[in-house]
Amino acid sequence: MKRLKFKILIFLFLIFALSLLTPNSQLMTCYAGTISSKNLIERANQIDGRRVTYEGEIIGAIMDRGEYSWINVSDSNNAIGIWCKSDMLKDIKFIGDYKQQGDILEIKGIFNRACPEHNGELDIHADSVKIIKAGFLTPQKFSKRNLKISAILFLATAFLMLLVRWRASWK
Amino acid sequence: MRDKIKTKILAKSVLKGVLGIGAEILLTLVFISVGVVVCLLWWSIIK
């Protein structure tokens, strides 16, 4: 009985010690799934140089630099620069801007807090780029009511202009 | 004759302007190089 108690005590102590030794336990969990841009920026020091999975919409443009290309991928909080082989991007059809929602990509690669190769940028050097959801054209709608109000206001303005002219002719 | 003088004056002032722009851009390059030197100085002193 005494021995069992002793064993339990040692077991508990070991768990306690282990928990002290792994202060980044929270970090380990976020590896299993994707990591957010907010976490990448806030915990850059801890994640620096590790392999991460990041997800988001491609925005702006693909910047072709020959064998490699730069893209920027936004998870709606921040956009992160991704350095990848140009042929990884050949399937991308939609790039996010005003008129379209860009393809959603899953990026796997090595995260750098201050990449020595790219003038200290915070970036991900991608091993793989996968399209997980295709983008689409954003429908364009405009308010007819606003257009009507504008027409009335323009007429009123024209009338006011005439009144100002007339007022200016007073002695 | 008068037109000739006018064009000459205009050409002269345009040339001055172009040289001025060149000088200003050169000054910004001097700024950049001074900045780089200051940074590297601290890098080598403390590192």
């Binding site: 806030e42 956009a79 201050a114 109000i149 504008s150 | 700024f31 940074c39």
Partner: protein, 501 residues
């Protein structure tokens, strides 16, 4: 005894504000044409609506307050200060209609930030903003950088004595040319010439960096405007980080420095006086303050070991410093990296650089290097006086375009502005700390707003308290106009309340 202003006084002010509002309304035709050219129908309707509303308001005010009187100093100063607020309210309308701002207050913040060439932004989902709306943000910077009154002087208002008083109210004490209209035109000439050179250079760097031609040109124009007018808005949410392009960064550094130069200096150099470039007190002071603040930043970063190689270190430290010192606010870091990685000393160096700013009569904000130079010279003169014999007369000269004998009145006006700026920085810092931020973060953000810089360490976001938004808006406004016009407006309000008939 203070006299209470009568109806005629208010009418003069109202009339000229009306004219300026009409000017803003006409300006909206530029993004409207762009929206039509890009086939952006909703933004086009937004601009038609905002334009009609603005023109209506402007003409209504002109009609109600119609007068033929010229502006006295008090009126002109009040017009200068109120017109910036009026411009903010009307210019925020298309921004708010774009749906990229959570509230009208946020849109007003953005408009003030644009006009004051600050660059702090509350936009959401910027990467999906229409080109025309995006261009409107940058156009506001162009207008604010040259000065709303300068625009009006060029197109709308005849050059009277009152017009010059308004121009002074916009923090431009120097008449570069004898005539105020000619001065306004020269400011435009410099801006347009550099717009062409800078946009071409930035477009080429964009193309080299792999952008397609239409995007490279659009972004180049936007980036040039915001760099030369030391504004800091960018077409993409990542700021300059979006481009991953060292050439583009180098060109923007040059443009920011050009924007931080005095327009009178541009005039001197463009008319053949190149010696001015190395004799001018502002350029010399800028060299010294840049080297000093860069030293603080550099030592802070090297001690913390933030960057592992020298190239990364130089490009990051120098870029943020020039961006801060010239009051631009372009950034090659994420805002939280200042706090998480740069640390207190790095942030302090950058905050000091932001607090000093560029030249007077340029598009920068903040205390400005001329004042720092004058106060330093005055200090040196006082120390010298202690050393030399009592009977000797000491004359201290300052060279800004021409030699000026340093007089107590120069030192006095420099000191008043210096103290006003320090108080303004302090107000924002206290407000920031009241909202739960640390001293280093609150002072960084406060100086950035009041000095019209636009670098952020993460406090400025759509979710920040409304009180802080309003404080920052006030700081941007007061900082851009350099106080005098705002003191005059305060005096006018006081006279209305307490003056005798």
């Amino acid at each position: 005894m203070i006299l209470r202003p009568d109806l005629d006084d208010y009418k003069v002010i109202g009339y000229y504000i009306g004219k300026l509002i009409v000017g803003i309304g006409l300006l909206m035709s530029i993004p409207l044409v762009m929206a039509l050219a890009y086939g952006e129908m909703k933004p086009a309707v937004d601009f038609v609506f905002s334009m009609s509303l603005t023109l209506f308001a402007g003409y209504l005010l002109t009609l109600i307050c119609y007068t033929k009187k010229d502006l006295a100093t008090m009126h002109a100063m009040s017009v200068a200060s109120i017109s910036w607020v009026a411009a903010m309210f009307v210019s925020a309308v298309p921004l708010f209609l774009s749906g990229h701002y959570l509230s009208y207050l946020d849109a007003c913040f953005e408009a003030m930030s644009g006009y004051a060439t600050t660059g702090l932004t509350l936009v959401t989902n910027l990467d999906h903003m229409a080109n025309s709306h995006n261009f409107w943000r940058h156009l506001m910077m162009f207008v604010g950088g040259q000065g709303i009154v300068v625009i009006a002087l060029t197109f709308l208002i005849k050059g009277t004595a009152g017009a010059f008083r308004m121009y002074v109210g916009e923090a431009r004490e120097e008449k570069i040319l004898p005539n105020v209209i000619a001065t306004a035109r020269f400011i435009w000439l410099v801006s347009i010439v550099y717009l062409i050179i800078g946009s071409v250079a930035l477009s080429i760097s964009g193309l080299i960096g792999g952008l397609k031609a239409p995007k490279a040109i659009f972004d180049a124009v936007c980036l040039f405007i915001a760099a030369f007018d030391t504004g800091g808005f960018t077409p993409q949410s990542q700021n300059i980080l979006f481009y991953h392009n060292i050439y583009l960064e180098a060109i923007t550094v040059s443009v920011m420095l050009l924007g931080a130069m005095n327009f009178a200096l541009h005039y001197a150099v463009w008319t053949g006086n190149k010696r001015e470039l190395y004799k001018n007190i502002e350029i010399l002071t800028l060299f010294i303050t840049m080297a000093a603040t860069l030293s603080i930043v550099s030592s802070g970063l090297v001690v913390r070991g933030v960057y592992t190689n020298a190239v990364s270190f130089v490009s990051k430290a120098f870029y943020q410093l020039i961006s801060g010192h010239t009051g631009t606010g372009y950034c090659t870091l994420y805002s939280r990296q200042f706090v998480n990685e740069w640390g207190q000393l790095g942030m302090l160096g950058l905050t000091l650089a932001m607090a000093i700013g560029g030249s007077v009569c340029s598009t920068t904000g903040a205390i400005k290097v001329l004042r720092i130079g004058i106060i330093y010279k005055a200090l040196r003169q006082d120390v010298k006086k202690l050393i030399i014999p009592d009977t000797a007369v000491l004359v201290q000269k300052v060279h800004n375009i021409k030699d000026i004998i340093l007089d107590d009145k120069h030192v006095r006006s420099a000191a008043i502005i210096l103290i006003s700026y320090i108080s303004l920085y302090l107000v924002g810092t206290i407000a920031g700390m009241l909202c739960g931020n640390s001293l280093s973060e609150a002072s960084f953000e406060s100086v950035s707003a009041a000095a019209n810089v636009g670098l952020s360490c993460g406090i400025t976001s759509p979710s920040m308290p409304a009180l802080l938004k309003i404080v920052y808006m006030f700081q941007m406004w007061a900082g851009r106009l350099e106080f005098i016009a705002i003191f005059a407006l305060g005096g006018m309000i006081l006279a209305t309340l307490k003056g005798k008939k």
